[in-house]
Assembly symmetry: C2
Homo-oligomer: 454 residues x 2
């Protein structure tokens, strides 16, 4: 098996520009609406939360946006990342398919998240911001932002959902190692937190409430902004470096993917991979390219939700975005892939799905772990439970190739390692893991509460 396994760009060839899909969309994105008036929101509505550069990126139609030198200098600590050819997995599956994966797990926080965290910290620093607040569920985003804050001298304050704070102390410690401050939500530090604690002193918290706390904290202080780790256009823009690096490497090797596969929660990792490729489908160069967004069957946003205006958060504080949604009150079952438990999806992904440019598939938990173990025992990497969703579909597609005899090129967006998810592996390996019933009733109930758009 003396075939090349790893492909990596020279540090000098790391992309100097992010790619902005808004320049190439066949139809522009539906506007984001103010929940009070139903009118499109403007920059001034977002200014208390985000620096103006990010607000501009959110609506820009420039095709390429320069990556500041200061951001590239931090990226260098782990970027460019490696593209692997999965020879061992191919052999184990006895498939003619050629499987590649771009691996984002070598970033210090262990996932793709710092690609945007570093950029966001930088633009806030440039605007004189001293503090950034955010929320975190399982802790990946909170640790990525703490990591980013340490390079620009910005204080990071993370509101971590109480139940995760108690169950995953090591993620909190990781944030603290990078200098971040992490407190459980509900906290006594905000009105939203105090209200909840008065109602239920033992509240386990929720991502929606943690967002409310982080936003309240940010707007109450002039030196403080708020930061979001997925969903928004500027976040997907920053993640496009994944796809740009991959495309440059594949051009060097002389291959082009037939199928691109990744997992989607808010969607930023996978969109970051495929936006530079979907461009080729839009302009007609690669009409047959297939792009498969993989989501959990227990949180089937793209495969079962309607395309409608909804809030981005559970508490209903954000503007209204048009997206496939299960309703902002939908509470997904407690699957181990915490990063995929989101009721909505990045508006850009939803728009592309609606235009028929990408497709979606839902996978059950048990099958994804089976795929993850196969990956660990062939390619060696212990993958995050989120990533296993994509691995499941890669294996399925490779096995289809075996049946049909086609030597398709399959590209996997591998979003990160599972070193802090070993409890999930333990549950699976000890036979305690189960699938969840399809949450039909809960989705119906939640969809009944979609906001009315004026």
């Amino acid at each position: 098996m003396n075939k090349k396994t790893k492909f990596i760009l020279d540090e000098e060839d790391m992309p100097r520009y992010w790619y902005n899909i808004q320049a190439d969309l066949p139809k522009p994105l539906p506007p984001v609406l103010h929940p009070g008036t139903g009118n499109p929101i403007g920059p001034q509505d977002l200014a208390p939360l985000f620096p103006m550069e990010l607000i501009k990126q959110e609506v820009s139609t420039e095709r390429y946006i320069e990556i500041p030198d200061e951001v590239r200098d931090v990226y260098r600590l782990w970027r460019p990342t490696t593209l692997f050819r999965a020879h061992r997995l191919e052999k184990a599956l006895d498939t003619p398919a050629k499987i590649y994966y771009k691996y984002e797990g070598t970033s210090p926080p262990g996932s793709h998240k710092p690609n945007t965290a570093v950029a966001q910290a930088y633009y806030n620093k440039m605007e004189g911001i001293k503090r950034i607040t955010t929320e975190t569920g399982a802790g990946q985003w909170g640790s990525a932002l703490s990591f980013a804050g340490s390079f620009f001298g910005i204080e990071i304050k993370v509101y971590m959902v109480r139940i995760s704070y108690d169950q995953k102390p090591y993620r909190r410690v990781m944030m603290e190692a990078w200098g971040g401050k992490c407190i459980p939500s509900p906290s006594p530090e905000t009105q939203a937190g105090r209200n909840m604690l008065a109602k239920d002193p033992d509240s386990p918290g929720s991502l929606g409430l943690a967002i409310s706390e982080a936003v309240e904290d940010a707007v109450s202080r002039d030196d403080t902004h708020y930061s979001l780790g997925s969903v928004l256009n500027h976040v997907l823009l920053h993640q496009s470096i994944i796809g740009l690096e991959t495309k440059a490497l594949m051009e060097k090797i002389g291959v082009y993917p037939d199928i691109i596969v990744g997992c989607v929660g808010g969607g930023s990792n996978f969109a970051g991979m495929y936006l530079p490729f979907v461009k080729d489908k839009i302009d007609g160069t690669k009409p047959n390219l297939r792009i498969i967004n993989v989501e959990p069957a227990s949180c089937p946003t793209l495969t079962k939700g309607p395309y409608a205006y909804d809030f981005g958060d559970q508490a209903g504080l954000t503007p209204l975005m048009k997206m496939f949604t299960l309703g902002h009150n939908f509470m997904p079952p407690p699957i181990h892939a915490g990063g995929l438990r989101y009721h909505g999806m990045a508006p850009i992904i939803c728009h592309l799905l609606n235009l028929g440019l990408v497709e979606a598939r839902a996978e059950h938990q048990l099958g994804t772990f089976m795929a993850g173990i196969t990956f660990a025992r062939t390619e060696g990497i212990i993958s995050a439970p989120e990533t296993m969703h994509a691995i499941k579909v890669v294996i399925d597609e490779a096995l289809k190739c075996k049946e049909s005899g086609e030597a398709k090129t399959i590209l996997l967006a591998h979003s990160g390692h599972g070193h802090v998810d070993m409890a999930a592996y333990e549950a699976y390996l000890s036979g305690k893991l189960s699938d969840y019933e399809h949450p039909t009733g809960a989705i119906k109930e939640s969809l009944a509460q979609l906001p009315k758009v004026y």
Copy 2:
């Protein structure tokens, strides 16, 4: 700060040979002795435990030993590894020193250990072995060997010290994810284990007992061998790929280190880095090269132990090796750098220290964590507590350069990440970590029990 940060060899340029220091030693290593007779041991004494290829490597004086293709093919999953220039750390320290580090933390198990685990699994496979037993303390070695076993279809059975088995369940799960079997030691599966359980059903176990169980298991079955993750000559040989890659990269850049720094427990990681460099000191090309072995002040083998014959294990089952030692009965304080809690040291390192070719330094725990946090907040990497010992000395040497104005080149052997050591970070960050009294009494007591050599 637009200076190059990362240096990595092309996959094609990954070394094809390991470097064997025994070819270049100014004086040969002292013989390994049979504890019963006091005579040098021969291959037949080791044959029940190790494949003949490894026994040959243990005593070979060939300068270069070819790395089998099958081993290189697995290495490709994470090798060659990256050499970093620590621009941000240099800036934070305001030092004229140029700091480089070779990072082994991107291997799937997270450390340098698989460099030898993969080779050992391969040679056992070639000899028709179906099962390998080993012991593990904190779990790094057990997971590296499980990882390696998965590629060659070898069953890995790990005896994990009971107290670690209970305290660090995730390391066990990692072994299982790769298909390894891990049970707590003392176990009811061996006579040694049953004896201990009869005496104390709640025994927390010890590394010495776990070795006894693994060895008893291995010799009781024809299809089974035993494997050791450090100390032995063939282990250091396999780790020499770290130094060979580093040397090749530094030659490309046109620099040569003035000081090389690494941490030592059994010594395989750091020796793997510096053996290809110490060659230049032996042959007189680089007479001023300094090589600093860093150990914990609470387990000061090289700085406080005598150079004497001792057992490699606590139970007194192994042959006698000449090494700096605190006595095989020495029980180091429970510092978080579990991988450095070893009473002895690789005989090759001890020989080089005795010849004055390398030096040693001991560091206290608190200072190493302070250094580790500085590294996390500048270079971004959460380091293992073992590695922090080396980082402490790198920072000290860089600060000396600041005082003297010298722009020395300092090379750090970075052995791995600390993602599974967050409990240690938590103890430090919450102010609960303390230094240990120097274990003078315990060392004296243990040294009184050194074996008599005939």
